[in-house]
Amino acid sequence: MIRTIAKALCLFGILSLDAIAAPDIQRWTLDNGARVYFVETHQIPMVQFAVGFDAGSARDPKALKGLARFVSDMIEEGAEGMDGETIALELESVGAQYSNGNGRDMSVFELRSLSEEQILESAVQVFANILQNPTFPANAMERIRDRMLVGLKQQLQSPGSVVSRAFYTNLFKNHPYSNPPSGEAEEVARIERGDLINFHRRYFVGANAVIAIVGDLNEKQARIWASKIVGGLPAGTAPDKLDDVSPSAQDDVLNISFPSSQTHMMIGQVGIRRNDPDYFPLYIGNYILGGSGLISRLSGEIREQRGLAYSVYSYFIPMQQNGPFIINLQTRNDNGALAEELVSQTVTEFVQRGPTQEELDAAKKNITGSFPLRINSNKKIADNLLSIAFYDLPLDYLETYSEKVNSVTLEQVKESFQRRVFPDRLLRVFVGGA
């Protein structure tokens, strides 16, 4: 079999092994401090914009959890000279697609448009207006509030949502990362229009904005559109950095009774920052432990050898400050204890002994070999740009990515896990069993 492959490879011409070119990133800063990241690519007549503000739920005021999401969802509901319906009509009549979302670190607004000058012009006008001059109309506000409250109620019927909320709340305690992006019902209920206006005024400013642009336009055009979209925001100031998140100090268990046939579990602790020096060894180590789907160690123990779960993963979510490290699975209620025990054994063993050389080599081959798959669409390039911009990663981040992965040693993986992951200090949250 092996010989056959080798022969086939030769015949088919495995000559294209030259390094995969990372996209050429242009970068500049507008007068108001907004940072622009641009990649020119002409194969498809479209442009992808993504605007990010350091205005995720970590910026929610203490007793107004859900405010960041509320503001984000209200952006398209009214702007100077336009009501929500007009905004939707104007964007959609030129085929443009708008979306927004927010997590704990960032609020993101995206626009996709055809690159034809007139179409782009009209889509960008609307996009710029809603970001810069939202009016937060009172009637729309009640509707969006209702929608948020229905969404929060729906979370209560989903064991996956319940486990996630409880995990974050108990892991991050008093740190703003404990704020659920979707908010808390009682607090969403008391948010006032003035709160929306103030939040927008404080955080939607040049010093707090990044914009990624990818597509069928040249730098000169990109400069014009970037200035229109975020250049008109007041300069303002960037908010203070979030407080450090201290590493988990002890283990903790939380059982939540829920009428489901499965027990959903989230087991984990405080992890890493996005620009953490341990990022690469931990990322690679986690690929082996629980980040590589069916072939990870956790999946091997829990799904492949015993058929206990459909989905079992581990992952770090690196954020501005230390985000979480999470192991997540769901299993039939009566198998919960066994699955928990297996997770605990697998993690402990991995931390103690680290991966094998063979596992490390395979992980590196996958992570470097799949690099082209991370940048094979405008959308994916824009996502990468936004995270490079927001987390202030070096401009050659993509270019040197494979190099950084390849330089990680077995010792580094083992050592970084021992320094950062403590199997005796895990938070374990279980939802189900009722």
């Binding site: 056959t4 086939a8 088919f12 011409g13 495995i14 000559l15 294209s16 092994l17 995969i20 690519t41 194969q43 498809i44 007549p45 479209m46 929500g84 319906e85 939707a88 959609e92 009549s93 085929g95 443009a96 697609q97 448009s113 509707r143 209702d146 929608r147 229905v150 109620k153 729906q154 019927q157 989903s158 009428p259 489901s260 046939s261 499965q262 590589s292 789907g293 069916l294 072939i295 492949e304 058929g307 779960a309 459909y310 989905s311 993963y313 299993t331 039939r332 395979a362 081959k365 996958n366 992570i367 470097t368 070999g369 799949s370 082209p372 798959l373 094979n376 669409s377 405008n378 959308k379």
Partner: protein, 463 residues
């Protein structure tokens, strides 16, 4: 939460009820719609091997990446009573080893070559895919050809994997009230067609499936002449054909014994069903029996396109009718969506679903939806509105090009449903040709009460 499955390919957004997959990755995330302007449309190259395997190649040179997908004409709609879920269970077992590879070695090899792989099962197809750096295509072909004829189907492996499938069913269906409502709804709307059964299978069938059933299923359906191999990426079609010939060309297996999906008898009156589950938010599902492209004679072949446009008018964005009227103006819905796919093996449903706004009832939401249907029946859509919808269709055709996976998916779905891939090149033209009268006529004929099933999910009193 909502199905959100409008347009030709039901798998676009609301993956959940229509597809079940091997791994819990969201394989369609980031997949947009496909297509480009006629003038620049990349060509599709076709070759049928002597053993009947159809190979389609669509060059996409934007990145040094290739997507390889193999599509088998088998899925939930092929399954007889008592054997529901067999196609999906077999899909899982396809990763459990062959004569020369151990369990999961397939995925391990793909991963070591920097690739990603997964599979999904639908009502009408089962598909396997790998995405790789372009020079690695033969790795995918070698492995995929191997498991087209040599899978192990080991009894012990099956006994574990069927438990994984049951966990998948608990996760995706049993512990999700809206999924339970959808499952009950489908079993009510269809009385004879196999579309009444969930793709993942009924629990009692999963309990009684045997590895020998899977063997027979595999032998009958996993045959070159019952498959389409789709390759999209930075490749030379001639080289791909040679490679396909080398790896798949020698596979000879007896032709598939066809399995009919029983025809669904015409519905004569409105059906209702109520689902109770530990839910917190009420949910409403409406479905009208409607034709698809394969089910009509040529004189009526405009109907599915008119229904697609109707779906766009109702739910093609925030400016569409349901959002404007039900969410924004009347505030009876918290959210609402439409699902229709014109490419399907057999006639399907035109679906509308939603959650009522906090102050509204399920009954109010239902009558508000029906009011919108009546409006389409009684009044012609204005030229302006039609133009807007068509502008969205033209743009989406461009955006779709941003995903080579989706481009492959579209070719695979069309071919597997017995249509020719060329249709994919025509769809947008056909949509743009739809008139206001055709939309009205299609609504008048098919979106009528006698043709309708309604399911409601009422939250149980909280404990």
């Amino acid at each position: 939460m909502l199905l959100k499955i409008k347009s030709l390919f039901p798998s676009r957004n609301g993956v959940l009820p229509f597809l079940v997959c091997l791994g819990a990755i969201s394989l369609l995330a980031g997949c947009t719609k496909e297509y480009i302007q006629q003038s620049t449309a990349p060509k599709v190259y076709e070759k049928i091997l002597d053993n009947g395997l159809k190979v389609l190649v669509k060059p996409d040179t934007r990145a040094p990446v290739v997507v390889s997908q193999i599509w088998y004409k088998v899925g939930g709609s092929y399954e007889p009573e008592g054997k529901t879920g067999i196609s999906h269970a077999l899909e899982h077992m396809m990763f459990k080893g062959t004569d020369t590879l151990g369990p999961n070695e397939f995925s391990r090899i793909i991963a070591e070559h920097g690739g990603r792989d997964n599979a999904f099962t639908s009502r009408d197809y089962t598909a396997y895919f790998q995405t790789l750096e372009k020079s690695k295509l033969e790795v995918a072909f070698r492995l995929e050809a191997d498991r087209m004829r040599n899978i192990t189907l080991d009894e012990h492996e099956f006994s574990k994997e069927i438990e994984v499938v049951k966990e998948e069913r608990r996760l995706r269906t049993e512990d999700r009230p809206e999924s339970m409502a959808y499952e009950t709804f489908m079993a009510t709307a269809y009385t004879r067609s196999n579309y009444r059964n969930p793709i993942i299978g009924w629990p009692k069938d999963l309990d009684s499936l045997h590895v020998e059933d899977l063997r027979a299923w595999y032998d009958n359906f996993y045959v070159p002449s019952n498959a389409t191999l789709v390759v999209v990426g930075d490749v030379e079609p001639v080289e791909v054909f040679d490679l396909a010939e080398r790896y798949f060309g020698q596979i000879t297996k007896p032709r598939t014994q066809p399995t009919e999906n029983p025809a669904e008898p015409a519905q004569s009156e409105l059906r209702r069903v109520e689902v109770r589950a530990p839910a917190k938010v009420p949910y409403l599902l409406l479905g009208y029996h409607v034709p698809v492209i394969t089910s009509l004679d040529p004189a009526e072949d405009w109907v599915p396109y008119a229904l697609e446009i109707a779906a766009y008018l109702l739910d093609g964005g925030k400016s569409a009718r349901l959002n404007t009227a039900l969410v924004r103006d009347q505030q009876v819905a918290s959210s609402v969506g439409v699902g229709y796919g014109a490419v399907s093996r057999n006639p399907t449903l035109f679906l509308i679903d939603g959650n009522p706004a906090p102050d509204a009832t399920l009954e109010q939401l239902e009558s508000a939806i029906k009011e919108q249907i009546d409006l389409m029946r009684n009044e012609l859509v204005t030229e302006k509105e039609l133009t807007r919808v068509k502008a969205q269709i033209v743009a989406s055709k461009v955006y779709e090009m941003d995903s080579s996976f989706y481009q492959g998916m579209q070719l695979g779905v069309i071919e597997t449903n017995g249509l020719h891939w060329q249709l994919g090149e025509e769809i947008h033209e056909r949509l743009r040709a739809v008139t206001a009268e055709q939309v009205r006529d299609a609504v008048r004929q098919y979106l009528v009460d006698d043709n309708l099933t309604i399911a409601v999910l009422r939250p149980e009193a909280s404990t």
